[in-house]
């Protein structure tokens, strides 16, 4: 395992993580800014990065802003708003060519930090001239994004299943916020919220590339105009224990293919000792083309093109998704339930065990080849407070037994069945 670890420092209460390496042709920068997912702030948090990407003090017009990125050899710049456990996290990313490959007069890394620092701490949003214009336009963009979720039925069904399943928890909220809140946000309220967010949010800055912790700390001091007084840490809550009957939700839309989604709850999360067993549970159930769902729903019964499962280790939720012929609903549910039962009874072959171990281990080892994957993996540690280096996870996976998986399976309880179908019979 040659995955080197991150060197750590801190500037302005922002945690800095640097991995010096010459393996890539680029510098990868990621900045995670996280706050608890809350109904009252979810939409403003979501809107903030949209408004920030319109311009900065030095490049107040969006055209100037984008031209600047082009001048940095088409530096990649992007952001995402993520949901991790009950946290809402804004992630900014930059991806810049290592100067060694191009004839650049000034350090591209330094210029990129100057740029990112301004995006976050000196946005054009703070200037009266730009405030309303940018906020109005980005409100519209955010609204369109939320509206468009329904266009992709696979994604829509997945979101709806979670929404129904977590009706009484913040986790039901979409990371992009609530459509009905957008109207009420003004440029004043957004700027006020932004100032508070800068003060109170968790901040983790990652850099992977041919640099050092010292250099990055210096660049952060120069480029980020932050005054943050108190240290903040992520505090993930234990999964909510709810014993209840399985709820079934059927929704009708104009679709040709039915989308069958299921949600299961488990008490196991990233910080748990049973985490590796839970990963194995998900892998054997539906993580791969050799898994029970693919083999039984697709290959044996020919019911679907896709049938898989996903495990969210920060929330303790496992979801199942498949696309089926509308009238095959009962048949598909029955086959999937049989797979869940066989997980509980430990009906798992040695072959399934070794195949799944090999696949998960391969995935973990591959992380080392991608700067952003390594960053994402390390960020799990910040979020969960659990330090589990990749080498340790590999060892734990190797040691999982069928009995361990069966024990983990007892904690996975089916909670919600969501079915999106056509409008026939309405």
């Amino acid at each position: 395992m040659t995955m080197t670890s991150f060197e750590q420092g801190q500037v302005h209460q922002m945690r800095i993580h640097v991995m010096p390496t010459k393996r890539f042709k680029t510098f990868a920068i990621a900045l995670y800014i996280g706050v608890p997912l809350e109904e009252s702030t979810v939409t403003e948090v979501a809107l903030t990065p949209f408004a920030l990407r319109r311009g900065t003090e030095t490049y107040p017009e969006t055209i100037q802003f984008r031209e600047r990125l082009d001048d940095l050899y088409g530096a990649g710049f992007g952001f995402d708003v993520l949901k991790r456990g009950d946290y809402q996290i804004v992630q900014f990313r930059m991806d810049i060519i290592n100067d060694a490959f191009v004839a650049s007069e000034q350090s591209l890394l330094q210029q990129s930090f100057a740029f990112l620092g301004e995006v976050l701490t000196k946005p054009a949003l703070k200037q009266n001239k730009y405030r309303d214009k940018y906020v109005d336009a980005e409100k519209e963009t955010l609204r369109k994004r939320l509206d468009s979720i329904v266009n992709d039925k696979i994604r829509y069904a997945a979101e709806r299943c979670i929404e129904e399943m977590c009706k009484n928890e913040p986790y039901r909220l979409h990371p992009l916020g609530k459509r009905e809140d957008i109207e009420g946000i003004t440029s004043e309220s957004l700027v006020k919220h932004y100032e508070k967010w800068l003060q109170s949010a968790n901040m983790d800055l990652y850099v992977v590339g041919d640099t050092s912790l010292e250099e990055v700390q210096k660049l952060v001091e120069q480029s980020f105009q932050l005054q943050r007084s108190k240290e903040v840490n992520y505090e993930l809550k234990a999964p909510t224990r709810q014993s209840r009957d399985v709820q079934t939700i059927v929704e009708k839309l104009d679709v040709g293919q039915g989308k069958l989604n299921m949600g299961l709850r488990t008490s196991i999360t990233y910080g748990d000792d049973q985490y590796a067993a839970a990963l194995m549970y998900n892998g054997i159930l539906g993580g791969y083309p050799h898994s029970k769902l693919f083999v039984n729903v697709r290959e044996k019964a020919s019911l679907a093109y896709y049938a898989s499962s996903r495990f969210d280790g920060h929330k303790g939720i496992c979801t199942i998704q498949s696309g089926i012929e509308i009238e095959n609903y009962e048949k598909a549910v029955e086959i999937i339930r049989q797979q869940l039962d066989s997980m509980k009874t430990g009906t798992i072959s040695d072959l399934e065990l070794t195949q799944t171990k090999a696949m998960i281990s391969n995935h973990v080892r591959e992380l080392g080849d991608s700067a952003f994957e390594m960053i994402g993996y390390d960020f799990n540690r910040q979020l969960s407070g659990k330090n589990r280096p990749a080498s340790q996870l590999l060892e734990q996976i190797e040691n999982v037994t069928i009995a361990d998986i069966q024990a983990a399976a007892q904690t996975f309880e089916l909670d919600t069945i969501y079915y999106l179908r056509d409008r026939k019979g309405e």
Partner: protein
């Protein structure tokens, strides 16, 4: 074994042609954990009419290349995914207009995985029963795409542009067309297009080139392939004009989706000339429509476009076209605005500064792509199948002139060649 060095990119590629005609390329990446391998045939959805040497003229149902891709994974011993999983590899495949690619990524047992990849693709196993069973699965794949408005609007442009050329046929075919596929159809296509002389193996990652090539040499030496004559791909003549000016599809969407594009009149042979033309057009589209242009910003401010707005240029055997657009409340106004801006730009031409900036951006994007073994393998094969070399793109970018780009702006945006595809909700309909 040939060694091809690219010092400016700090990359070295190793190459050997096997006696049976198979091309093998290896790109060692120091410090990388994973190895990514692709085994590709020059065979895609457009190759539905062909003959070999003086053989019979054959026409096959739509969707065969893709169907074949699905069925290759089945071996007499069971599903090949299981074998890969045993060896810690994750395997996959895809079919495009002009190629079918089988691939795996793995961090261990690389030799065994390369052998598995080569062996399963070189060992077809089709039965009446397994062909029938696959129809249900592919049927659901087709239905999944039918419900996907992004796919429908994208394919809609191609369907509008081309009436004859098979590029307009959905890669998976239709439920009806795949219904007529039999194991005999599959064997006919397999025997034609999976001959080693029509294929390319690319291995990139933490490997030793000589070891990989030796392994393939030994593997191929054990198999008996006769010589195969030239494959003649038959394309009926496609008119220059677009097939339909406008194609509207109804699906529930939050905003209309509009993609439009220009069908190239000038059809070039595959090779260096086509590569240069393609790169010039891609650069031109970026200077005209990229996110740092005044036009983009104007359209965004007018709320005619949103983040998903984009553009691309595609070309292959006997076809070439651009696609532009995204979600918009008013497709016709969007096209009109772009048309006005393009016409104005045609008279003034682009300025040098914008041209240089866009070129810089393209070079940066190219270098960033070289971080990804997956992208390298896929793009390298893609270019090779067009008789070009991925690692020789940088000098082409550097030699492109402003005049060339201005000329391509004037030639490509020919409004006679415009085709429009719109996906809108039944209630949004006014066309």
């Amino acid at each position: 074994m040939q060694t091809i060095q690219h010092p400016e990119l700090q990359e070295t590629v190793y190459y050997e042609k096997m006696p049976n005609g198979l091309d093998v390329y290896v790109l060692p990446k120091e410090g990388f954990q994973k190895t990514y391998a692709t085994f590709s045939t020059r065979y895609g959805s457009i190759d539905n009419h062909f003959k070999v040497a003086k053989g019979e003229d054959t026409q096959v149902p739509d969707g065969v290349a893709h169907f074949l891709e699905h069925k290759m994974f089945e071996e007499p011993t069971g599903d090949i995914f299981a074998t890969f999983a045993n060896q810690g590899a994750s395997a996959n495949a895809f079919t495009s207009f002009d190629r079918t690619v089988y691939l795996f990524t793995a961090t261990e047992q690389i030799d065994a995985n390369i052998e598995t990849l080569v062996n399963f693709v070189q060992n077809p196993y089709f039965t009446d029963e397994n062909v029938e069973k696959e129809k249900g699965i592919i049927g659901q794949e087709i239905k999944m795409y039918q419900d996907n408005p992004d796919w429908r609007v994208y394919f809609g442009v191609i369907e509008a542009m081309f009436g004859i050329h098979p590029v307009h046929i959905d890669i998976a075919g239709t439920i009806e067309s795949i219904g007529t596929i039999t194991k005999e159809t599959l064997y006919t296509c397999y025997n034609t297009f999976y001959h080693p002389s029509n294929m390319l193996l690319f291995v990139v990652g933490g490997v030793n080139a000589e070891d990989v090539i030796e392994l393939v040499r030994a593997n191929q030496a054990k198999k008996d392939y006769g010589q195969q004559g030239e494959i003649d791909r038959i394309f009926a003549e496609e008119p220059t004009a677009v097939h339909l000016k406008r194609k509207v599809t109804h699906l529930p969407v939050s905003l209309p989706k509009c993609l439009f594009g220009f069908k190239e009149k000038n059809i070039l042979e595959l090779g260096a000339e086509q590569l240069r033309r393609d790169l010039v057009i891609k650069l031109m589209l970026d200077i005209m429509l990229g996110s740092s242009t005044p036009l983009y910003q104007q359209l965004y401010d007018e709320k005619l476009i949103s983040d998903g707005f984009g553009f691309e240029f595609n070309s292959g055997k006997n076809y070439a076209f651009s696609i532009i657009g995204g979600d918009t409340p008013d497709p016709d106004l969007l096209i009109q605005r772009i048309r006005d801006a393009v016409e104005a730009m045609k008279t003034t031409g682009f300025n040098q500064a914008h041209f240089e900036r866009a070129r810089k951006k393209k070079i940066g994007g190219y270098l960033r792509m070289l971080n990804s073994p997956e992208a390298i393998a896929n793009e390298f094969t893609n270019y090779k199948f067009r008789d070009c070399d991925l690692f020789e793109i940088l000098p082409v970018y550097e030699s492109i002139t402003l005049e060339e780009v201005n000329e391509s702006l004037r030639n490509h945006f020919d409004w006679e060649q415009l085709a429009i595809s719109i996906v809108e909700s039944p209630s949004q309909s006014n066309s």
